[in-house]
């Protein structure tokens, strides 16, 4: 394929993305989210902002890992002083814990709602507000109609939406741009120090519109995502205790 054809293909791909409701790569927030090796999976190597992503998790601990992953993305989206909305059924997010992911916890508005229907409505309303860095909602079940409504809301406003689905009853196809599953991996420390190191996750991108799904092992270190070096997978089996 020579240069001219490549250009044409690239342009056509852009056009298709735009028709599918995704924003072109010149968005101010685009390129802020650095996901290390995961970026190769996205169209144009840019995390799709202004879209709705869904995250599946099975257990409370996996939900915590997912919350951390979402918080790290939100942290980079909030770098230039945005605020975000976190909608959930109860008070469970620990605001001081968000600080480690680059979020100023006082810029997060928590909305506690019990009914799923109310959560859907609140999320849709919040996604219509231009300028919000992101809207997260903890909603186990998401059907196609609701996801389509959320997608339509973000196409207008350009807000990024995250739906955290803890123990979903059924996995229907949805209109979300990506489906993720995050699970914890043993923590990593580059110098093999005892105790807990940097958090590691197995990030599985099961579905991505216009991109290539895949699975990565990442470590969250000093505010960045890095690929997990293979050596750390052979962790010492003995119980280690940090000398305090």
């Amino acid at each position: 394929m020579d240069g001219v054809q490549k250009d044409i293909v690239a342009r056509l791909q852009q056009d298709i993305l735009r028709l599918q409701g995704q924003r072109p790569a010149n968005d101010p927030l685009a390129g802020k989210v650095e996901l290390g090796p995961v970026l190769d999976a996205f169209p144009q190597q840019v995390f799709p902002t202004g879209a709705v992503h869904e995250y599946i998790s099975g257990s409370p601990a996996a939900t915590a890992a997912t919350s951390g992953f979402i918080a790290s993305i939100l942290g980079s989206l909030m770098q230039n002083g945005g605020s975000c909305v976190w909608i959930g059924p109860e008070k469970i997010i620990f605001p001081p814990g968000l600080k480690a992911f680059g979020i100023e916890p006082d810029r997060v508005l928590f909305i506690h709602l019990k009914k799923e229907k109310d959560i859907c409505w609140a999320m849709e309303t919040a996604l219509q507000v231009e300028g919000l860095a992101g809207v997260v909602s903890e909603l186990p079940d998401l059907n196609f109609t609701v996801s389509r409504r959320l997608q339509l809301a973000v196409e207008k406003s350009g807000v990024t939406g995250f739906v955290l689905r803890q123990q979903p009853r059924k996995l229907h196809p949805t209109a979300c741009v990506g489906r993720w599953q995050i699970s914890s991996l043993a923590s990593y420390h580059p110098d093999e120090m005892p105790g807990i190191g940097f958090p590691c996750w197995n990030v599985e991108l099961q579905k991505i519109r216009g991109g290539k799904p895949g699975s990565w092992q990442l470590v969250w270190m000093d505010g960045h995502f890095l690929a997990l070096p293979d050596t750390s997978l052979i962790s010492s089996q003995t119980l280690l205790r940090k000398i305090g």
């Binding site: 469970i92 001081p96 919000l132 807990i196 119980l239 940090k242």
Partner: protein, 499 residues
């Protein structure tokens, strides 16, 4: 020039009773209260009065006149209750209404009557409406409270409208009792042959004062407008209020919406001029059948934007049942604050427009109820539950910084859950723990981080926190409560989940 209206309900108690007990419509009844050991009539229905029963008669005498008369117990608070209700109802005609015990209402109607096409029509409208409710009334409009009061009680027509000149002439021909005097004074005046106000109005003031006291002079001055008489309105006048009376009763939702929009536009125009914004507003509708309904909204930041306020009200318009139609809309700002200038940002260098954010929160709380939105600020405490507090206001800034020197979980259980733990020696991290029936073998651990109770805030034992990681890499925050004593096993709890 002030114009005042007095409404007299000659049969207030009897008609009020009848309105409450419609089944008495065709029976003769009297209201009686015990007085010095016998039942004395305090009110009688018009039919009973025709039979010769009058107020003040003993019940036994009334029974002798009409055998089947029904006697109801008097309720001393009833006149005040009835008048207050009627006074509130009159607010549709004028914002200033006051009760005049025992059986009247006083309204300040300055500048209101022209909306109904003149004072006669205005008074006739009120009288007809009250008649519809079952009340007989006599109404007078005059320049002073005293004159209006006198004309209702002692005038000849059921509706008397006295202009400034007529008022004086009309008063002169009335008996002295029309001046709201004490019974003793009235009797003394009569004994002296002073049968009308005209007889003594031109007498010297010092003579009148010496013989009848200052009460007479005061009442005279008030009636003729030489002395001001204040009116205590039932409802203090709300400064930010708009009214929209309708020619035809409104029954449709779109009609209500149009009315609301008009009122909001008018109110917001005024608010913009004064640099204020609404925090709380109420929209009231008065129905043809006398029913009043209202919907209330609140905002997170003072707002003066009609479109946003309309959206908040729109969510609640369903609660209004127009039934036969709404004839008056009132929009009132209950709580008004200085509007923030658009330059003042909620958060320094924020990408989102705070007005838009506040509007979102208003929408959410308006539909889903208050108390669902929370924002947290840091507090200088190590105890996890106390390390943050809820922000009172949307614009409140943190007074301290968020600490990140200690690892903290991203999800925290509001109540720590007890877990079963096996630890090799007392102050070692556990080897494994069981939570909700699932065994987690611990591979890595950090700790302990001891957090003491702040005894000046709460009594209790300290916690030793450990961060632990199980065999599949999930990280938990566990703590052991209190000191090791050797005899009883420790209680361990799971408090949070690390990401």
């Amino acid at each position: 020039m002030k114009r005042l209206m007095a409404i007299w309900f000659p049969h207030l108690l009897a008609e009020g009773m009848l309105r409450r007990r419609p089944h008495l419509k065709d029976t003769l009844f009297v209201v009686a209260a015990s007085d010095h050991g016998r039942m004395r009539i305090t009110a009688a229905c018009p039919a009973a009065q025709k039979q010769g029963i009058f107020v003040g008669m003993a019940v036994a005498d009334a029974r002798a006149l009409v055998a089947n008369v029904q006697v109801l117990d008097d309720e001393p608070q009833l006149p005040l209750q009835l008048l207050t209700g009627l006074g509130h109802w009159c607010i549709r005609y004028t914002p200033v209404a006051a009760t005049d015990l025992p059986d009247g209402l006083l309204l300040d109607i300055s500048g209101c009557a022209h909306l109904w096409g003149g004072e006669e029509k205005y008074a006739a409208d009120i009288q007809n409406r009250l008649k519809g409710f079952g009340y007989t009334t006599r109404i007078a409009i005059a320049g002073t409270i005293g004159a209006a009061w006198a004309l209702t009680r002692y005038g000849k027509q059921p509706i008397a409208v006295a202009s400034f000149d007529e008022e004086r002439a009309a008063l002169l021909s009335l008996p002295p009792a029309a001046l709201r005097l004490k019974l003793v004074t009235v009797e003394r005046l009569q004994k002296l042959g002073l049968y009308t106000i005209g007889h003594f109005i031109n007498m010297g003031r010092s003579i009148l004062r010496r013989r009848f006291g200052t009460g007479l002079l005061d009442r005279m001055d008030q009636a003729f407008g030489w002395k001001d008489e204040p009116l205590i309105p039932l409802q203090p006048i709300e400064p930010f209020r708009e009214r929209l009376p309708c020619l035809e009763p409104i029954v449709t939702r779109s009609g209500i919406e149009i009315a609301l929009q008009q009122l909001l536009n008018a109110l917001c125009e005024r608010l913009v001029k004064e640099g204020k914004g609404i925090r709380k507003a109420v929209f009231k509708t008065y129905r043809v059948d006398g029913e009043a309904q209202q919907i209330e909204i609140g905002t997170h930041l003072p707002s003066q934007q009609p479109i946003h306020l309309f959206k908040l009200f729109e969510l609640k318009i369903d609660q209004i049942a127009p039934a036969l139609g709404i004839e008056l809309f009132v929009l009132e700002a209950l709580n008004v604050e200085k509007a923030r200038s658009s330059q003042e940002a909620l958060w320094h260098n924020s990408t989102v427009n705070d007005t838009r954010l506040a509007q979102l929160l208003d929408q959410l709380t308006g539909k889903l109820g208050k108390g669902i939105v929370h924002r947290y600020l840091p507090e200088e405490h190590y105890w996890p539950e106390r390390s943050f507090r809820e922000a009172k206001e949307l614009g409140e800034q943190p007074t301290t910084t968020w600490h990140k020197d200690r690892p903290r979980p991203v999800r925290l259980l509001s109540v720590p859950e007890p877990v079963e733990v096996a630890a090799p020696i007392p102050d070692y991290p556990p080897m494994h723990f069981r939570h909700k029936g699932k065994l987690h073998t611990i591979k890595k651990a950090d700790g302990p981080e001891r957090i003491e109770q702040e005894w000046w805030l709460q009594e209790g034992e300290h916690r030793d926190y450990y961060i632990v990681e199980d065999e599949i890499g999930e990280r938990y925050w566990l703590f052991r409560l209190g000191h090791y004593t050797g005899d009883n096993p420790h209680q361990w709890y799971l408090h949070g989940f690390f990401s």
